[in-house]
Amino acid sequence: MIVADRKPLNEILDMVKRCNRILVVGCKGCVTVCNVGGLKEVQILATSLKIARKIGGFPLVVDEMVLERQCDTEYIAIIKETVTDYDAVVSMACGVGPQFLSEAYPEQKFYPAVNTTFFGGAVSHGIWEERCAGCGTCVIHYFDGLCPVARCSKSLLNGPCGGSDHGKCEISREVDCIWDKIVRKKVEQGRLDDLLDVVPAKNWQSARDGGPRRSRREELIQNG
């Protein structure tokens, strides 16, 4: 799933500083699952903003709602009638949400309440880690399901660098050296020789380096 972190309150307060009335809109997709943008967080943010503005003597009216997903136009259409009642809309979805909203409602201002961070999962409750870089050309079959593109600080494809230190990456004791894990797994499985084959240089055009990406599925596209 897409993992995100809530922005500091001051940043959000700054975005809405001229507003009298806003809508905070959450998303029931990834950000609910990673405890950042579901109804619970929408209520917390809405209440926090109201508190801040009460202190400032410039009260803010905040309405709260959660959409099934902010990355589908049909769900976004639900706020069609009300979206212009507000001075601005704060989205708690990943970066996709405010953009879909903006495209659907060009007349309104949309602000992000979260920083979208990575594709990953919960390694335990309350701790999420990055697992995928969305590079567009998956190579994890070379590495028995472990991705050095996303998980090596340098995205090295042919073994660790000199910064691998007892299983950790030199950038932080909290970051595992994925190459250490790849090698150990190969040793355990008795297939260390696999690593003698050189993985060819990666074509980064399929990643962001090739510019904004788009995916087409002809058989799904309606009306020609």
Binding site: P8, Q43, I44, T47, K50, I51, K54, G56, G57
Partner: protein, 140 residues
């Protein structure tokens, strides 16, 4: 204002311990300030971040959660979760420019009537020193 400010505090008390301790303080005829009003919850694990923030939004001068002693939660670990939520709210208040000491977590057993009174006295004193909630000041 020359008079001492009389704040209003809300205490979320677990029915198994702090609420019973408050009753015991009453049976022992212990005196504590009338500023504190109790809301009973089945476990402090039920006390949500939003409950604490709503109290602050409604101009509470002080808010506290009182659960069982750590390790003695009737529901295993609800009081530990409550403590983490209180910590979260303290951080949020700091971000909002409100004194985090206005929110607190306490642990006590049902036999600790005197401790209940002591907490009520200490918290009321603490809040009196801090004065009215900035939320309330903004109101006026």
């Amino acid at each position: 204002m020359s008079e001492v400010y009389e704040p209003t505090l809300i205490a979320f008390c677990c029915k198994y311990c702090a609420y019973a301790a408050a009753d015991l303080a009453g049976s022992m005829r212990l005196s504590y300030p009338s500023n504190v009003k109790i809301t009973q919850v089945p476990c402090t694990g039920r006390v949500d971040i939003i409950h604490l923030l709503k109290a602050i939004e409604n101009s509470a001068d002080g808010v506290y959660v009182a659960g069982c002693m750590e390790g003695d939660c009737h529901f295993v670990s609800g009081n530990l979760k409550a403590r983490k939520r209180v910590e979260y709210v303290k951080k949020t208040l700091t971000e909002l420019g409100i004194e985090p000491e206005r929110v607190e977590m306490f642990n006590l057993s049902s036999a600790m009537g005197p401790r209940f009174a002591e907490i009520a006295i200490d918290m009321t004193d603490r809040i009196k020193k801090l004065g009215p909630s900035p939320v309330k000041r903004g109101d006026t």
